[in-house]
């Protein structure tokens, strides 16, 4: 088919696709417009933010941060062996390569909320299943990025050290680790950012922390507390982002 006839066809198809999405999600712009005063109402009831309960949220904030911290640290520890197996240039065998790739794909494909539900059945409600969920879900993203870094690595130093008669473990710790450590740390910091946001969402479904606090306040119509929690959340996320990007720059 000619390009000139193909292009309008593709455009038409795209418009059709988007059209069906409007129908399926039941998009009604009119209601959004007429309902806008409802949102304005909530906003007015939410201001000014109520900072009187600030001391009460120190613990939930810590919980949220620590769920992300645990998830990231355990995720990194578990992702490294899978990444080594899943990197084409260092994997010991084809079978292990495919095994590791599958584990990485699976942990990434299953959302952290589902992992959390799975772990709740094992260890009950609370921050711990949330933290476990983040660890497992992190394996996917970390494992894939780590494996990519290992595949892109300059193999010169590895070959040179192998030829000096150094053993496999020595080559790994003396050539691979120093070359990769900074970029792996950068990826891990970036992952911490994402885990922090996920940890807030997991709070909504029972992992505790700020998310749970927010859900409770919403259910009790304490909108001024909700807005305070939103501000704290915002500061937390932006702060973590700033610190991690500053650290990443420092290491580059």
């Amino acid at each position: 088919m000619r390009r000139s006839t193909l292009l309008p066809l593709i455009l038409l198809l795209g418009i059709g696709l988007f059209g069906q999405s409007l129908w399926v999600i039941d998009a009604r712009l009119s209601e959004l417009i007429t309902g806008v005063h409802g949102m304005a109402d909530i906003l007015s009831r939410a201001s000014p933010p109520d900072f009187s309960s600030l001391p009460d949220i120190v613990w939930p904030t810590l919980e949220t941060l620590d769920i992300a911290l645990f998830g990231t640290v355990c995720g990194v520890i578990m992702a490294i062996p899978f990444a080594v197996l899943a990197a084409r240039n260092v994997t010991p065998s084809k079978a292990l390569y495919y095994f590791a790739r599958s584990v990485i794909a699976l942990t990434r494909a299953v959302p952290d909320l589902i992992w959390a539900l799975l772990f709740v059945t094992a260890v009950g409600l609370g921050p711990f299943p949330g933290a476990l969920a983040l660890s497992v879900h992190s394996i996917g993203m970390l494992g894939r990025l780590f494996a990519e870094r290992i595949e892109d690595m300059d193999m010169g130093a590895v070959e040179a050290l192998t030829l000096t008669g150094a053993g496999r473990a020595q080559v790994f710790t003396h050539a691979v680790v120093p070359a990769l450590a900074p970029s792996l740390l950068g990826i891990a910091l970036y992952r911490f950012d994402e885990n922090l946001r996920s940890s807030l969402v997991l709070g909504f479904v029972g992992a505790g922390g700020l998310g749970f606090r927010m859900l409770t306040a919403m259910n009790l119509f304490q909108y001024r507390e909700v807005s305070m929690l939103l501000i704290v959340t915002f500061l937390l996320v932006v702060g973590a982002e700033q610190i991690s990007s500053a650290l990443r720059k420092l290491m580059a």
Binding site: D154, G156, A157, E159, A160, L161, L163, T164, G165, A166, G167, A169, Q170, T173, H174, A175, V177, P178, A179, A181, P182
Partner: protein, 256 residues
């Protein structure tokens, strides 16, 4: 310590041949010998089999026929531990220094000795402490002792290549194999590296075999030149025995 002339044969290559799976024949029965204290240069144009030859010696490439003897020990039948020991006895230098850029120069040199210090601590990434003084000595030998604490990645190309040589020395080799060690260096640094290799052969009695691209450097520094063309030795003799016509022949394209 100055060695009186060439000594015992350190490396003997007999009828070495390599045929790649795709049918290309890179080496057609190469013979050569390198003695202690001798600097031998292999000359030839691109694709003449120089690198294949060097890599076949330590079995980075598996030769299809022939024999390699290092210190009288046949490399062909070895595997695992035996091959590791033979490789330890021969230091290799490549076109690129292949240092770990983020580590300091001294650490890079000391890693050359890892093969002799296989312990839990070195497997965990620690350097063999006993080797640090020796490593400084090797840095002294290549003239870079003042750079010991600098990150290797910050050095110039020629300096990095000298660090790579110091690392090879930390292996305590008796044989040095160099694959186009000056190919990516400026002429000044190239001469420095060649002078260093020359000195290691003459003063320390190392057997040095290096692949080069530049006939002028070969003529200036080699004890012996081996001309390789299309996988065959077409010249083996002292630099003053090599004629301009021979150099032309070596660098001629196949279908001349």
């Amino acid at each position: 310590m100055v060695h009186p002339g060439p000594g015992a044969p350190r490396l003997i290559v007999r009828q070495l041949a390599k045929r790649y799976p795709n049918g290309r024949v890179a080496l057609k029965g190469v013979d050569l010998t390198v003695r202690d204290g001798e600097l031998v240069v292999i000359l030839g144009s691109n694709g003449c089999g120089k690198s294949t030859l060097l890599r076949s010696i330590v079995r980075l490439i598996e030769p299809t026929e022939g024999q390699v003897l290092i210190d009288g020990c046949a490399v062909g039948g070895l595997d695992g531990e035996g091959l590791r020991r033979v490789r330890m006895a021969c230091g290799m230098i490549f076109q690129h220094a292949n240092l770990v850029g983020r580590r300091n120069v001294l650490a890079n040199v000391a890693t050359g000795s890892l093969g002799r210090h296989r312990s839990f601590a070195t497997a965990m990434g620690l350097l063999p402490r006993a080797e640090l003084d020796a490593a400084k000595g090797f840095l002294q030998e290549v003239g870079l002792v003042d750079f010991a604490q600098q990150r290797a990645g910050t050095l110039s190309g020629g300096q990095q290549q000298r660090v790579a040589i110091a690392r090879a020395l930390a292996q305590r080799p008796r044989l040095l194999l160099a694959d186009e060690p000056v190919a990516s260096l400026d002429p000044e640094s190239a001469r420095e590296i060649m002078a260093l290799l020359r000195r290691l052969a003459t003063e320390d009695g190392l057997a040095v075999l290096t692949v080069l691209h530049q006939p002028d450097l070969a003529l200036a520094y080699a004890d012996r030149v081996i001309g390789l063309k299309e996988g065959e030795v077409v010249f083996d003799g002292t630099p003053d025995g090599i004629s301009a016509a021979m150099v032309d022949l070596l660098y001629q394209r196949h279908a001349a």
